[in-house]
Subunit: 658 residues, 2 copies
């Protein structure tokens, strides 16, 4: 893996980057004053505003644009639901215990880290330049993976390690145990043999109500189940019209064995999920697919990965669906829409790929699955999953509860079915068979189409047929043609019943947020200790910084008026009237990603003009307060760019800095 880069292509220094996130309180380890709690993070004001903006844009891009039915279901869930869905049995990771120290390791992560360390040692021994992957290095140190030694490996071993790593997500518990033995992986803690991998269920258990003596519920690990359980009500709300999608934004929970990598593997996280319900017999075609079919995307397919490679190819989604690499139009439509969403947030296209899941890697319910992955200094991060869950969930819940989780649809064209039908002459049947009449009748009705065809010919030819009816007499019953008639006729079916399939785009908001910040991060060549976060204006936590040139009381009313005016225009602003120099105040807000700055100075008092500063270029224009507010609005709404505004309004070069 190549070294990670900033927005401008310079090497990304993780320490500097992380110091910015801490300094500006984007997020912070939760409960730090209590020694912290692994895998839990709090969002500070800029992180929280950024998260709100991502959710808001998500709602506009998906829910409003596609008329989805947004619901908000509870996080606490009775155990029976996850028993049915399969999560109680299967939603687990594999963990190995060090029998000496009691420490617990996640099996796949351990194998991955040890093999990577050995490959690195091999490269060193061969005198090759070792790319420093800071994140993995830090992880290794933390986990005390001891064997980063310059030991050369056989070429065959190197190849085997590399192939194992490419497939690491594809192994189950038993296979991981075999790999640990085969590669002689010991506890990084104590060097002893680890216990064999054991499944650890990732759901948090809890007890609902005062009278239960044992846990009877879970915190949901995904928002999906609540949407499935309400399917019938949503279909009715949608006036029985198919296809439709439900959507939900909310917290989910996974009791990770060893949380790591900041926001990327946490125990509580915000998800945004869509469940698009579609008729499986429609071929999963999508009416708006034509609108997206020329979208170019970087796709990494499953076969390439199974060969041990990570080489992706760029295709249009139209080509991918046509070649069946992506299974159907609906899945393809959502992959394209997911990409548009990510790009709208400011994600770097060159650091985005869609990776297909390998068979064993997929969740137990999925028929096909693609992840949108974003490249960061911590590697490729799965940020959005897009799975075809088939009819799995609706079927299992329907089977368990008997609820009508299906669609009854009046056929536009009634379906004509040619079939053999049986008529019984009941008046004669009763007197003839007496108490056996019912059993014989049932045996006749139960005849398959194939047998009916055969018997209809027999009746015509022989005038009688012989039937197996085990419950009656010697098990054989003879029927003459005055008792029964079998004819080929046409039946007309007006209503069709089916269980919809589900396409599920599922967004990890925290992972997107973290990766996005890396993608928009850079620093000015003249000041590389300070960063700049170039969020697109609609995404930025705050849109406009208001700075008075001095602390003079004369300037204050102008700031208040600007705040009020901008708020009425729906633009969030912050005043920084601290005593720091203008330059320092702007730098601080470059790190917060504030796209625009308005300076109020003594000229303002004279002629009511103010300056507007662009975060990315640091250039400024000067105009009347009204013109500047209008320009800010145009930029924040995405109707003009800075370049447009800079062409229209007079450049300003005065008032510099510290």
């Amino acid at each position: 893996m190549a070294t990670s880069t900033t927005k401008t292509g310079a090497p990304l220094d993780r320490a500097t980057f992380e110091s910015l996130l801490r300094r500006r309180l984007f997020y912070t380890p939760a409960f730090e004053i209590y020694g912290g709690e692994k895998g839990l993070f709090d969002y500070g004001p800029p992180g929280c505003a950024l998260q709100n903006n991502l959710v808001d844009i998500w709602r506009k891009h998906f829910v409003l644009e596609e008329d989805m039915l947004e619901v908000d279901c509870t996080q606490i869930t009775p155990a029976a639901v996850f028993k049915t869905s399969g999560h109680v049995d299967k939603f687990a990771d594999w963990m190995c215990k060090d029998p000496k120290s009691g420490e617990i390791f996640r099996a796949d992560h351990l194998v991955e880290q040890v093999l990577e360390a050995r490959l690195k040692g091999d490269k060193e021994a061969r005198g090759q330049t070792v790319e420093i992957d800071q994140a993995k290095d830090a992880k290794r140190k933390k986990k005390k993976v001891k064997d980063v030694q310059a030991v050369q490996l056989d070429d065959a071993v190197v190849k085997e390690y590399e192939e194992t790593l490419a497939k690491i997500d594809n192994y189950g518990g038993e296979e991981l145990g075999q790999l640990i033995k085969k590669f002689d992986i010991k506890s990084p803690e104590t060097g002893v043999d680890l216990e064999p991998p054991r499944a650890f269920n990732l759901m948090f258990q809890l007890t609902i109500g005062p009278s239960a003596s044992t846990p009877n519920g879970y915190l949901r690990p995904e928002t999906a189940q609540g949407q499935f359980l309400n399917f019938q009500k949503l279909l009715e709300f949608n006036q029985q019209s198919m296809p439709f999608a439900s959507a939900s934004v909310g917290k989910s929970f996974r009791n990770e064995i060893s949380p790591r990598s900041g926001l990327l593997r946490v125990r509580e996280f915000l998800m945004a999920e869509i469940e698009h319900f579609v008729d499986p017999e429609s071929g999963k075609r999508h009416p708006r697919f034509a609108q997206v079919k020329d979208t170019k995307m970087t796709l990494l397919n499953r076969n390439v990965q199974l060969e041990g490679s990570t080489k992706a190819e760029e295709l249009t989604i139209g080509e991918a669906v046509a070649s069946k690499l992506v299974d159907n139009e609906t899945l393809g439509y959502f992959l394209a829409r997911i990409q548009m969403f990510l790009l709208r947030l400011g994600v770097d296209y060159s650091k985005l790929r869609f990776r297909q899941h390998m068979a064993n890697e997929m969740a137990h319910y999925a028929a096909d699955c693609w992840d949108a992955e974003l490249r960061t200094s911590l590697g490729w991060i799965e940020c959005v999953g897009c799975a075809d869950r088939s009819a799995y969930d609706l079927t299992v819940h329907r089977n368990k509860t008997g609820a009508s989780l299906f669609v009854r649809e009046t056929r536009a064209e009634p379906l004509k079915i040619e079939e053999y039908q049986v008529d019984i002459d009941k008046k004669r049947f009763g007197p003839k068979f007496k108490k056996d009449a019912k059993a014989v009748e049932q045996a006749v009705e139960a005849l398959s189409q194939e047998l009916r065809e055969k018997m209809s010919l027999e009746l015509e030819k022989e005038g009688r047929i012989t039937l197996d009816v085990p419950a009656v007499g010697n098990g054989k019953v003879e029927l003459e043609k005055d008792l029964v008639k079998i004819e080929k006729r046409t039946r007309v079916e007006h209503v069709r019943e089916y269980t919809p399939n589900v396409i599920e785009p599922s967004f990890g908001i925290g992972r997107i947020l973290y990766s996005l910040i890396e993608h928009v991060y850079w620093s000015r060549p003249e000041d590389d200790a300070r960063g700049v976060l170039s969020f697109p204006p609609p995404v930025a936590p705050t849109k406009v910084l208001l700075v008075p040139l001095s602390g003079s009381d004369d300037l204050r009313p102008y700031l208040q008026q600007l705040t009020y005016k901008l708020r009425r225009m729906g633009i969030s602003s912050k005043i920084d009237d601290s005593s720091a120099s203008i330059g320092k105040r702007y730098s601080r807000n470059d790190e917060l990603g504030t796209p625009l700055g308005i300076t109020v100075d003594f000229q303002t008092v004279k002629d009511n003009t103010v300056t507007l500063r662009d975060r990315d270029t640091t250039s400024q224009v000067r105009a009347s307060e009204d013109e500047i507010c209008a320009a800010a609005k145009a930029i924040v709404d995405g109707e003009e760019t800075w370049e447009d505004v800079a062409k229209r309004l007079p450049k300003f070069e005065g008032q510099e800095v510290d």
Copy 2:
């Protein structure tokens, strides 16, 4: 309590009202297909949109308007935090167990229900009209409170019951136990004596991580603690400037003993909380209090309640603060702002009151507390709490962890403190006292100002003083004036250190949402089976309904174009092209609270005009598509009312309905 009424003053029929909420999927019992789980509700599309709008308006009204620092903290919380905050020990309700059936009752609710039933029986016996309180009636039936019998009570007993009910929230476990004995309350299930009240902690416990063998965490019962724990970071983010407020919107959890009343007592709920940190020495004055001081409010003070009455009085908040009924300006400011928020949502002023907590009713941390209560068919519902938590939380967490949860402030004017200071001649001290020197020195330093003053006189007069130093020799040490000097001097203090007090407005979004729907609900005299929800346009789940007059393909492009145009203006719309009549489609959307409807008809195809319909009056105007869209925007943004629009644009009386 008088019978509950609709927006137009007609009696509110709960069955009809609830059937509307179910029919339109505002919310629904969660996990219904699994038999349901008490106290958990899912929001369907209109409820979810309404909730999102409430939160959005809340953010604008509080967070943006007052520049609060919004954070998002985790729901999962380590046990140590709630141990310190007092929740592990004190956050409990009192429950009584029926020893025969095992059923559990919440003690205060049981007393309340039984006394109310007896009072009702008394009224019946006296031949008085009994107001039917449907909700309480339903509760009683459910809980099988058997003794609603027409039995007349002594006048003194009636008085005692009424006084007990007025103070019901003021009783602890022991007192509830005494009331149960005194009033001879038995298990409504079996008629046997109940076990004495036992505390049941309302927090959900859980186990974080794979290695803990017992629960080590809780789901938070309020969002506040996360804000307190981050106080130091937030103060720094705010550039050390005080006062400031943090804010948070998120789920909280209470494992209620017996959830009831739909959304009003649930186990998982959305809260929006503000923690306003203020210098206690500022007198808790508020710079913007003058802006709100003339706000009239309905206040029910604590003393009136302790006298067994519920008579509220209307005052301006300025009067209430001046008379110390409301303790301070900051508390008063927030009470007024809370009222403005609720009125902005569409709450009925005549069904809003602020009730002061009685001493025993307050949470363990509160110094004073007022609830905004909304009147509904289920009684007065506490929807917003506004507590003065004093310095309680920051102090206990600081004491426990040693974290700097306080403010260090450079004094504008350095403080001059007159005090007695002690100088020790260390050169002589050591040789004289040898190994005891330290202990003697400490004893001198520890002298109070009072003793110092006394000893300074003694030193002057006698030339020596005698000190108690228990650890040295016989416990007395004599010091001559060459060893020690005590003088009155002036010390200048430049920095002040203090723990802020906290004013906490805390909003139960679900309760507000439910009560609001009751307040805006009414039905047209000509069609009382169907309801209308008159949400103010910014609050309404969907703003505009688009209806084609017929299913003709000619009309479809106009609907698409309108959708697109409205979306660009930031207005959510829905198309209803179902086959129902225009009238039915409008009725459906009256029940969803959609304020505006645009009809596309064959005239549209000719001249591009459409009609705009007002939900509340059902009157319509007709104009060009652009004019209608602009009018819709003005109404949705609150810049024009329907009356304004109806004056400007030509009335339309055609196209009616069936």
